[in-house]
């Protein structure tokens, strides 16, 4: 029997030697684009450090319920990081919850959770704390309800370049009391609380005593103290809008603000004195004016409540959903994600009439698409972009366009690009020495028009939204999509957001938000993850593209091997995995990565369509 097999093996060998290409294997798309768990570069390690709905947060006295603990809210979005200058720990982490829900213990609306982390060996640990208000534990609910009034849809935010001050942003512009899920919808008096008696004594100079509708107390930038888990103030003097992101510059006076709306103005606040943001002037950007920053009088409450309308009255420049804002200390420039919207035309036609003007890059895009202007029904903005604002020249330009755009592609078949950037949302820049790096995170608006690859099927034909996050070396001049290095993807259904490096640049904190409930625990909950191992790559000697071997051209190179879960290749291959007995277990098409974590630890054979083979050792 043995001899017979060997003999036949020889025939097979001859057949294989003449393989002109494996016709049964045609192109299909990588399972790497669909995972039930977090997937990051194998050169990095990942830890789950905060699980929504599972980890318990310490609460304050709320709605007559005594202080205690409650399961954390879900929908983790922004991550604030405030370094610990004492060196005892790494620092304090602040997590947004992008929700509007009632909660008896945590408080209505969305909110935040804060905790303190330290590095122990190669691991990140959450350390115990006792706060000034007597609460002790690991995770703490930020008390908004008893201070500034509840917050809602806490999405992005700001980490100041100076001292790590933290603001949380309230997105999803509320327009009526029926659009908030609040137990108390009586009118709200700034500095006092609701007329029905829910006290919120933290007011704001100049606005205390003003009575507004309850929903009008949402949609601000709200500062918190991450060390004590309390809210400090709602920033009424920065206006009321669907804020998403912002940046406080090193001068500790200038603040840039991003608003998630179509259209969105680009806004700036300049404080009178350093480190005091309660007084100062508020401006909106108008690219086609001589004085590009036009002041909106922020001492008038009505101006603040209707901030965007005031912006269009003075002819501000219109953008298509500005999300996160990040400052690059190396170049001194400010970057923002403009996430895009499929058919924005009708969304900003009205504001155009009110006086708003289109950003030049939208006019150029419309013209390239052969449509009259960005207000036309036919105008599309599927992929979004990162924009760059230079404070020196006061010019706002497109920095990195999402895509590749279908209109740019020639009409031939090509592989799904490894770096297809769609709907950038989260944005972070980290300086290491004299270099800086940008982390771009996706939140897909849909799966259409090439935003997700064909073949990532959840149910035969329904494509899976998998959001990716990328690293960009900011030293690269005029970067293109080719320069993006994919760090990883988040589980099915999740948006990746919140990316922020610890001060030492070794660990990236990131959130996996609203994943599919079909993922295994804990990946069915919103998660905060610590991804470590960047120290060798950022500012170091190893080029960052080694984080993703698929971007390095070479012969078939299977690594890591042995592996605990995945192997990656230096190019895309079609392959099948066989067990030791020769049984075909799984077929993969057009992949540069294979996930073996579902297999039991053993030795497997891999065979490519060209007959190349490799033995893969899967360890525990």
């Amino acid at each position: 029997m043995r001899r017979q097999i060997l003999l036949m093996g020889c025939f097979s060998l001859m057949a294989l030697a003449s393989l002109p290409g494996q016709a049964l294997f045609d192109v299909e798309i990588a399972p790497e684009f669909g995972a039930k768990e977090i997937r990051v570069s194998p050169m990095l390690t990942t830890q789950v450090i905060f699980i929504g709905g599972v980890d318990m947060v310490q609460t304050t006295d709320t709605y007559g319920n005594p202080a205690g603990e409650a399961p954390a809210k879900q929908w983790h979005d922004f991550i604030g990081f405030t370094g610990d200058e004492s060196g005892e720990s790494l620092g304090w982490v602040s997590i947004n919850h992008e929700r509007i829900v009632q909660d008896d213990l945590i408080g209505d609306g969305g909110g935040m959770t804060v905790f303190k982390i330290a590095r122990e060996g190669d691991s990140i640990v959450v350390v115990d704390q006792t706060l000034a208000d007597g609460r002790s534990g690991k995770y703490f609910n930020v008390d908004f309800v008893n201070t500034v009034g509840p917050t809602g849809m806490n999405c992005g935010g700001i980490v100041s370049e100076v001292g790590g001050r933290i603001w949380t942003a309230e997105e999803w512009f509320r327009t009526s009391n029926s659009s908030i899920d609040d137990r108390d919808t009586s009118d709200f008096v700034i500095g006092t609380g609701t007329v029905d008696g829910q006290t919120a004594p933290v007011g704001f100079p100049g606005f205390d005593g003003e009575q507004i509708k309850k929903y009008q107390n949402y949609n601000y930038m709200v500062e918190i103290d991450p060390r004590e888990a309390v809210a400090l103030r709602k920033q009424y003097n920065w206006g009321r809008a669907g804020f998403e992101g912002g940046a406080v510059l090193p001068d500790n006076k200038t603040v840039y603000l991003g608003i998630d709306a179509t259209p969105a103005p680009w806004a700036k606040f300049v404080a009178e004195t350093e480190n005091d943001f309660t007084t100062g002037k508020l401006y909106v950007y108008k690219h086609d004016a001589d004085e590009k920053w036009i002041e909106i009088d922020n001492t008038v409450l009505d101006n603040m409540l209707n901030f965007s309308s005031k912006a269009w009255e003075v002819g501000a420049t219109m953008y298509n959903r500005i999300e996160w804002v990040a400052y690059d200390p190396v170049s001194g420039k400010v970057y923002a994600t403009e996430t895009g919207r499929d058919n924005p035309g009708s969304r900003w036609a009205g504001e155009l009439e009110d006086g708003g003007v289109f950003a030049p890059h939208h006019i150029d895009r419309a013209s390239a698409q052969g449509v009259a202007d960005p207000a036309a029904d036919e105008y599309v903005d599927y992929y979004g972009r990162v924009v760059e604002f230079d404070p020196a020249t006061e010019e706002m330009v497109s920095f990195l366009e999402g895509g590749p755009d279908i209109a740019e592609a020639d009409a031939t078949v090509c592989d799904y690009p490894i770096t297809h950037l769609s709907n950038p949302d989260g944005l972070h820049i980290k300086q290491i020495g004299d270099k800086s790096y940008m982390v771009i995170q996706e939140d897909l608006n849909g799966d259409t028009y090439g935003r997700t690859p064909l073949g990532t099927y959840k149910n035969f034909a329904s494509r899976i939204r998998t959001c990716e996050f990328f690293l960009l070396d900011m030293q690269v001049e005029d970067p293109t999509l080719e320069d993006l290095v994919r760090i990883g993807i988040v589980p099915f259904g999740a948006e990746v957001t919140g990316a922020r490096f610890t001060d030492d640049g070794e660990t990236l904190l990131i959130n996996s938000q609203h994943p599919s409930d079909e993922n295994p625990f804990p990946y069915n909950n919103s998660l905060t993850l610590a991804i470590s191992g960047f120290g060798d790559f950022l500012g170091g000697t190893t080029p960052i593209n080694e984080l993703n071997p698929a971007t390095i051209i070479g012969t078939l190179n299977v690594r890591p091997n042995p592996t605990a879960d995945r192997v990656m290749f230096d190019r895309k291959i079609d392959a099948a995995i066989y067990d030791m007995s020769g049984k075909r277990l799984q077929v993969y098409r057009n992949v540069n990565e294979i996930d073996l974590s579902a297999f039991t630890p053993s030795t497997y054979f891999l065979r490519t369509e060209d007959g190349e083979t490799a033995k893969i050792v899967l360890t525990n």
Partner: protein, 627 residues
């Protein structure tokens, strides 16, 4: 990197290929040929869209008759590309090309934006509008948008459309299900009801795609290939000879053509050695690709919907789930079990219009739905507020008017009962603390999976397990799936709102249900339904009074009917639909999704439909439910 010894590996591979009958095949790539064929047809479609749109721009107003013909031709061109287009571009197809003619919400934007309906179904509806002059501007706008979107899709697929043999065969099988459930029922031809001619066209497209596999089939899949092609040709012939929408015998078509060709294609796929979905992904799907009949009891994967893998499901868990299901001591007042409202003898529903509250005096807001086949759904509760079975349980457990407790309290109580301690230990032997929220939920989910009721007389007849069915049932099914248009919302085979052919989404509808069955004094039930389900992203006008489409299986047992239990009898229910729902009763229901025109069903026809519905009763899960 380690390279394995080449010679030894080839032995291994030889064994592998002989074992599966796989041999390397080096002919011109079939997917390339399929792709070229598809692009040619797409080009025809695109030219048709463009000339259609140009014709509407002409200053001379086109006649309604001419327009109807043009829409018909355009839709037939679309049907030729539908098998691959709808498979590869499901989102683009649903949103822009051939989605239901209803408003939708723009996904993933920080506000609620209603997208007006467009695409080919809308063109079909408007081309037959009685106020044609009035709707013409809308029609022109929809045509223009369709043109723009079709042109863009052409660009996209030029760049991205690459695929494998597996995709092609999956797309063909999926098209058979789509054609039967959405085409022949008239679902996607709301104006013309031209479903039969369109089905002939799309079967032709499937046959032409398959013909590219003719050569491959000669190796060892000739028999199933020939069988599939012959069945598809016969199916087309049958439809051409029986082309009256109202009288077509859809049951005969199902048994003689649809199911046999669906089975033959599976047989063909397996015999070619081309990998199946099971070779390339581990996660379950709604449709079980290995099933060979639309009415097979494993056509849909209950495990997919219940979020429980096949490995995690066993008899011990079902038995434990059953214990919990009937145990009143789990609720805070020790007076409510799952079975209090989901009573087996009433088809796991209950005879009261609205369920009793925990206080014993008041009632809950709505009627308890049946749990038989309930798990074949992606959303739970009449208002669709729960996204999965586990969260459904949480709503009941935490609700003050229902169990009014927590899983922690429940677990603590169970730990004091030796029979439960024993049962949980036996069921979850690897856990040190087996009584917990996840294990309770897993046990109840397992019981829910077991409440499958897909073995009714009707199912058995479709599967050729019995050879006689009352003629009124046959007539009733054909009305249900045709003239009476029931099957365009209560989709086969579960006859609920889980949408074919992927069965990946549960739908809700606005019917305009009244508060009382007394038609003279009744008024619209003001229950907000989906609008008020607590999801910020669904609090839109288009979901006001919208309720989940329930299964009609076992409906004989589950009176009273509708979300509020307003109707005691099926005759009353049928009368409501026959009159055109809430609008037909004279209410103001701005977003009613049920067509408001009377169905004009005769008394005999209604009694046939009821006979069909009663043939869907399967008591086996009920009979085995006694403790």
């Amino acid at each position: 990197m380690q390279k394995f010894c080449f010679g030894v590996l080839t032995c291994v591979l030889w064994i592998a290929s002989s074992h599966w009958g796989i041999k390397p095949i080096f002919e011109n790539s079939r997917p390339e040929l399929v792709r070229a064929q598809y692009f040619k047809k797409f080009e025809n479609y695109l030219l048709s869209v463009q000339s259609f749109d140009n014709a509407l721009d002409d200053s001379e107003r086109i006649s309604q008759q001419k327009l109807q013909n043009d829409v018909r031709d355009l839709r037939l061109k679309y049907k030729a590309i539908e098998p691959l287009l709808a498979y590869f571009f499901p989102s683009e197809n649903a949103r822009y090309l051939n989605g239901a003619p209803l408003p939708k919400l723009e996904p993933n934007v920080p506000e609620l934006v209603v997208i007006p309906p467009g695409g080919l179904q809308m063109l079909d509806e408007l081309a037959y509008a009685t106020d044609f002059e009035k709707v013409f501007p809308d029609l022109a706008e929809i045509s223009h948008k369709l043109r723009v979107q079709s042109e863009q899709l052409g660009q996209v697929q030029g760049r991205y459309l690459t695929f494998s043999d597996r995709n092609v065969l999956e797309a063909c099988r999926m098209q058979l299900i789509r054609a039967y459930t959405l085409g022949l029922t008239g679902f996607d031809t709301p104006g013309s009801a031209n479903g039969i001619e369109e089905t002939v066209a799309t079967l032709e497209a499937v046959s032409e795609i398959l013909s590219i596999y003719h050569k491959l089939a000669q190796r060892n899949a000739k028999e199933p290939y020939d069988r599939a092609q012959e069945l598809i040709a016969d199916a087309q012939q049958y439809l051409l000879e029986n082309d009256d929408f109202d009288t077509l015998d859809r049951l005969h078509f199902l048994k003689s053509y649809l199911n046999p060709s669906y089975a033959a294609l599976l047989d063909f796929h397996l015999k070619t050695g081309i990998e199946t979905v099971f070779d390339v992904q581990q996660q379950l799907q709604g449709v079980n690709y290995a099933a060979d009949n639309l009415f097979a009891d494993d056509f849909l994967s209950a495990h997919f919907y219940a979020g429980l893998s096949i490995e995690d499901y066993n008899a011990a868990k079902v038995a434990l789930g059953k214990m919990l299901f009937f145990d009143e001591s789990l609720s805070e007042g020790k007076n409510q079990a799952c079975a209090s409202c989901h009573q087996p003898e009433y088809g796991f529903a209950e005879p009261r219009a609205k369920s009793s509250s925990a206080d014993g005096f008041s009632t809950l807001e709505r009627n308890a739905p049946t749990l038989l086949n309930a798990c074949y759904s992606t959303r739970y509760f009449h208002d669709l507020r729960a996204l999965n079975v586990q969260s459904q349980m949480e709503h009941v457990v935490y609700n003050e008017a229902e169990f009014n407790t927590t899983f922690e309290r429940m677990a603590n109580a169970l730990k004091k009962k030796t029979d439960y301690v024993f049962a949980f230990q036996k069921t979850f032997p690897h856990l040190t603390d087996p009584i917990s929220k996840p294990t309770i939920q897993q046990a109840i989910a397992s019981y829910l999976i077991s409440l499958k009721a897909l073995d009714s007389p009707f199912d058995r007849y479709v599967r050729d397990e019995i050879d006689k069915l009352d003629p009124s049932v046959v007539r009733g099914y054909n009305l249900f799936m045709g003239k009476a248009a029931c099957g365009t919302c209560h989709f086969a085979p579960i006859f609920n709102g889980t949408v074919p052919p992927t069965f990946a989404e549960s739908e809700s509808e606005i019917l305009g249900v009244p508060t009382t069955s007394d038609t003279l004094s009744a008024s619209l039930d003001l229950d907000l339904g989906r609008y008020g389900n607590g999801m910020m992203a669904e609090a839109s006008e288009i979901y006001k009074h919208s309720f989940k489409t329930p299964t009609i299986r076992n409906i004989e047992l589950t009176a009273p009917y509708m979300h509020n239990g307003v109707y005691e009898t099926l005759e009353e229910v049928m009368d409501f639909y026959n009159k055109g729902g809430g609008i037909g009763l004279g209410y103001d229901v701005p977003y009613q999704t049920l067509p408001d025109a009377p169905l004009n069903l005769t008394k005999d026809e209604i009694s046939d439909i009821i006979a069909f519905m009663k043939s869907l009763t399967d008591r086996s899960a009920i009979n085995s439910s006694s403790p």
